[in-house]
Structures are given as structure tokens and as C-alpha cells.
């Protein structure tokens, strides 16, 4: 792709149309993959010898946890691009991704708790991974509330971008310190990392579900970014043309 083209697509007006064309594809793909992933999770993957049927929760838990971390990194990349090249669209993409990332983070916490209860007998343990996931959730909340509190869109974009970058630099430090804290205080009690030897079908199921979440995220973020673009650009001529056509 030539440079000119890239600039053309990074203009919100062009991207609005492009995103609109891409959404149905990703949405359909995501629905198919979710169906396949659920089929593998419940009908193909065998019962686990140690954990019985309760282990099937990992088919939603692990992909959600992966997605929540991955989305934060993507957000930070968009934020970095936005700050460096002053492109409005990348800030809008970061803003469009944040709620979905927070949602996946919440799902990972929720399902982790529902997995922990039958396995460990407690709804919540201060396991290193669960704790880091909780802190990641706090980072998402901080990003979203900072953007929501600033009325001037330009300042909101840039302030959000900065806090996302600060957050992404801190995530490894936080993870490391929580892990250190956990080994010191809890000793060798319980951990997610001692997963039972994973059968190929189980891994396949998790990967299919992860790709399904991935395509879902793309579709929903594109949908949300279109709304953000429309809200911001409603005074421009191209936006009023679209609105005229939508009626």
C-alpha cells in the first residue's frame, strides 16, 4: 500500500465507509467461530480427569483473559501512534477498544471466580494472575473515566493516550511485583499455571474461541469507532450527507 493510500484511509471520513464494509464480514466470521468453539468446548474436548466438567470454563476464561491483555497493548500502540503522528483516528480507535477490553477483563475475572469456587472452594483467591487481572481492570477503568471526564475531545484523546502508554509500561512491573508478593505470602498453595496436561483438542478449543473473541472485538470496535466518528464529525458536509442518506 502506498503512503498516499494510508493517509487516505486514516482520514475519518474515508475510514467511516471502509469500517462499515468490514463489519459484516468480521461479525459473521465471529459468529461461525463462536459456534465452532463452543462445539469443541462441549462436544469434542474430553472430560478432564482431575477437574471433571468444571474445567470447560477455561474455554471462555482463558480467551477472555488473553483478549483483555492483548486489547490493552493494541490500545497503547494506537495511543502511541496518535501521540507521535497526531492522527485523530488512532485515538478514536483506542477509545473504541477500551470498553470491550474492560468487558473481556471483567469476563475473565467473573469466570475465574466461577472456576475457582468448585476447584478451590473459594470465590476469590489472591492468586498472582487473578490479582494482575484485577489491576488491569482498574487500569481500563482509569482510562475510560479519564476520557469521559474531559469534555474537549482533543485533550481527551491525548490525555487518554498518555495514560494508556503509562499503563502499558507499568503492566509488566505490576505483574512482576504481584507475582513476587504472591510467592512470598502464599507459598506453594494454588495456581492457575499448573494446568492439567493439555490435550490437543483442548488447546484447539481455546484457540478457536480466542480467534472468535478477536473477530468479535474487531467488529464491535469498528462499529463503535463509526459512532465516535459520526459524533465528532457531525458538522462536516460528508457527515450530513451520510445522515441524509440514512433517513
Amino acid at each position: 500500500m502506498s503512503k498516499v493510500n494510508l493517509y487516505k484511509f486514516s482520514a475519518p471520513a474515508t475510514f467511516y465507509g471502509l469500517a462499515g464494509q468490514m463489519i459484516p464480514g468480521f461479525a459473521i466470521l465471529s459468529a461461525i467461530l463462536f459456534a465452532a468453539g463452543l462445539y469443541i468446548s462441549f462436544f469434542v474436548a474430553p472430560t478432564d480427569a482431575q477437574q471433571g466438567e468444571a474445567y470447560r470454563i477455561i474455554f471462555i476464561h482463558v480467551p477472555a483473559a488473553w483478549m483483555s491483555m492483548f486489547i490493552y497493548v493494541v490500545m497503547a500502540v494506537y495511543s502511541g501512534i496518535g501521540l507521535a503522528f497526531n492522527t485523530r483516528l488512532s485515538a478514536m480507535m483506542a477509545q473504541a477498544l477500551a470498553p470491550t477490553g474492560a468487558l473481556f477483563c471483567f469476563i475473565a475475572l467473573f469466570t475465574g471466580s466461577f472456576w475457582g469456587k468448585p476447584m478451590w472452594g473459594a470465590w476469590w483467591v489472591w492468586d498472582a494472575r487473578l490479582t494482575s487481572q484485577l489491576i488491569l481492570f482498574f487500569l481500563y477503568i482509569g482510562f475510560i473515566s479519564l476520557q469521559a471526564a474531559i469534555e474537549d475531545p482533543k485533550r481527551a484523546d491525548r490525555a487518554g493516550a498518555l495514560i494508556a502508554l503509562v499503563g502499558v509500561i507499568n503492566v509488566p512491573i505490576i505483574y512482576f511485583s504481584v507475582k513476587w508478593w504472591n510467592t512470598l505470602h502464599q507459598g506453594a498453595s494454588i495456581s492457575f499455571s499448573k494446568a492439567p496436561t493439555m490435550a490437543h483438542t483442548m488447546l484447539a478449543g481455546m484457540l478457536v474461541m480466542a480467534v472468535a473473541c478477536w473477530t468479535y472485538t474487531i467488529a464491535i470496535a469498528l462499529y463503535r469507532v463509526r459512532l465516535i466518528i459520526l459524533e465528532r464529525e457531525r458538522h462536516t458536509t460528508w457527515a450530513s450527507e451520510i445522515l441524509g442518506g440514512a433517513k
Binding site: L83, L139, S145, L146, S177, W180
Partner: protein, 221 residues
């Protein structure tokens, strides 16, 4: 470098004129830590175990509550915008302001921390480690906090917002700060924890003034 000393001197002078601010933060710290025994009961063994963590959390909250003062006065009277225009590096000015915040809001806490430690029945050795960990760790709080303070400058509800932004970033400092005291009382030695706190301090000294300066430009543009 001259600007650094100048801003520190000026801000310290201004802070001396408002001594009540310093005292408020200090008393918040003391009251906050004294509430815990009332909440969990006077069991000495339990208090001894909780002590370092409680003192550290109280220091965290006290430091966070006083973050609003970091830039707000200069923002209100327009000095801050002058500083943006000044040819010296904005990062140095931010560094100076964080230093003043540390001196006025956190150094008094460090001085009072042994008293609270005694309330929780910490041993003499643990008290020394507590002081050392606070001395190394609290500058990190001021530095990291300066990013949050500059991002929320002039926003309504900025005080609560800054806690959402800053508290998750304080977690590593809390873990290694309180952990240092725990490690020394359990006989592991606090050196490892204190070195990591030192590393966090160096890292934040290098990185946060630039980030906070960028945040100030974003907020004031």
C-alpha cells in the same frame, strides 16, 4: 539545573506560608492508621502483622490526597502557563515540583511513621526498615502522582479521578515497601525489597518528569 533549585525554593516558600496544608495531610495519615486497630480489634499479633501494610496504605492515600496541590495553585493564577513558555525544560520544573511535594507532604509522614509503627507493636528493627522503605518509596509516589495530577488538571471531580489513575500505579511501590518490613521481621532480610524500591525510584526519576511534562502540555493546550 538552576531552574530546579529556583522552583524548589519558591515552592517551599509558598508551602511555608500555608503550613495548615502540611498538617492536614499529616493528621489524615495519623488518623487513618489509627482507625485500623479500632476496626479489626486490639489483638497484638494481628496488629503486628498488619502494621507495615497499614502504615504504607495510609501513606499512599495521604500522598494521593495531597496531589491536587501539586499544580493547582500555579494553574489557578496562570503561573503554570508561563512555565510552559519558559525556555528551560518543563520536565525539570515538574521534577522540582514533585520534589517539593515529597518534602511537604511525605517527609512529615516518614517522620511520624515510627510513632504509628509503635502503635502497631513493631520491633525496633522493623521500624528502621519501615523508615528506610518509606524514604526510598515515597518519592516514587510523588513522581508517579505528578502524571496523574497533571492529566486531571482543572477537571471537575479531578480529586476522585486522580485516585483511579494513580492508585493502580502505586501498587508495586506498596508491595515492595510493605514487603520490605515483612521480609525483615520474618528473617529474610529487607535488602532485596529495598533494592527493588531503589530501582523503581531510579526508573521513575528518569521517566515520569518527561511524561508529566507532556501531560501538562496536553492539559493546558
Amino acid at each position: 539545573m538552576k531552574i530546579l533549585a529556583w522552583v524548589v525554593k519558591r515552592d517551599l516558600l509558598l508551602a511555608m506560608r500555608r503550613k495548615s496544608d502540611v498538617l492536614t495531610t499529616l493528621f489524615f495519615f495519623v488518623i487513618m492508621a489509627s482507625l485500623f486497630p479500632l476496626g479489626v480489634g486490639p489483638e497484638p499479633q494481628l496488629l503486628k502483622q498488619m502494621g507495615p501494610g497499614v502504615v504504607w496504605v495510609a501513606a499512599l492515600l495521604a500522598s494521593m490526597l495531597s496531589l491536587g496541590r501539586l499544580f493547582s495553585a500555579d494553574y489557578a493564577d496562570g503561573t503554570l502557563e508561563q512555565m510552559l513558555l519558559c525556555p528551560e525544560s518543563l520536565a525539570l520544573i515538574v521534577l522540582a515540583k514533585a520534589a517539593v511535594h515529597w518534602i511537604t507532604a511525605e517527609l512529615p509522614l516518614v517522620a511520624f511513621a515510627p510513632l504509628l509503627g509503635l502503635q502497631f507493636g513493631l520491633s525496633e528493627q522493623a521500624l528502621w526498615v519501615l523508615i528506610a522503605s518509606l524514604l526510598i518509596g515515597t518519592p516514587v509516589l510523588s513522581l508517579v502522582g505528578s502524571i496523574g495530577a497533571s492529566l486531571t488538571l482543572g477537571l471537575r471531580g479531578g480529586g476522585v479521578l486522580v485516585s483511579l489513575l494513580v492508585l493502580p500505579l502505586y501498587i508495586p511501590t506498596l508491595i515492595f515497601g510493605a514487603g520490605a518490613v515483612d521480609a525483615s521481621t520474618s528473617g529474610l532480610g529487607a535488602q532485596g525489597h529495598l533494592s527493588i524500591l531503589g530501582a523503581l525510584l531510579v526508573l521513575s526519576l528518569l521517566a515520569t518528569p518527561k511524561a508529566a511534562a507532556a501531560a501538562l502540555r496536553i492539559s493546558l493546550e
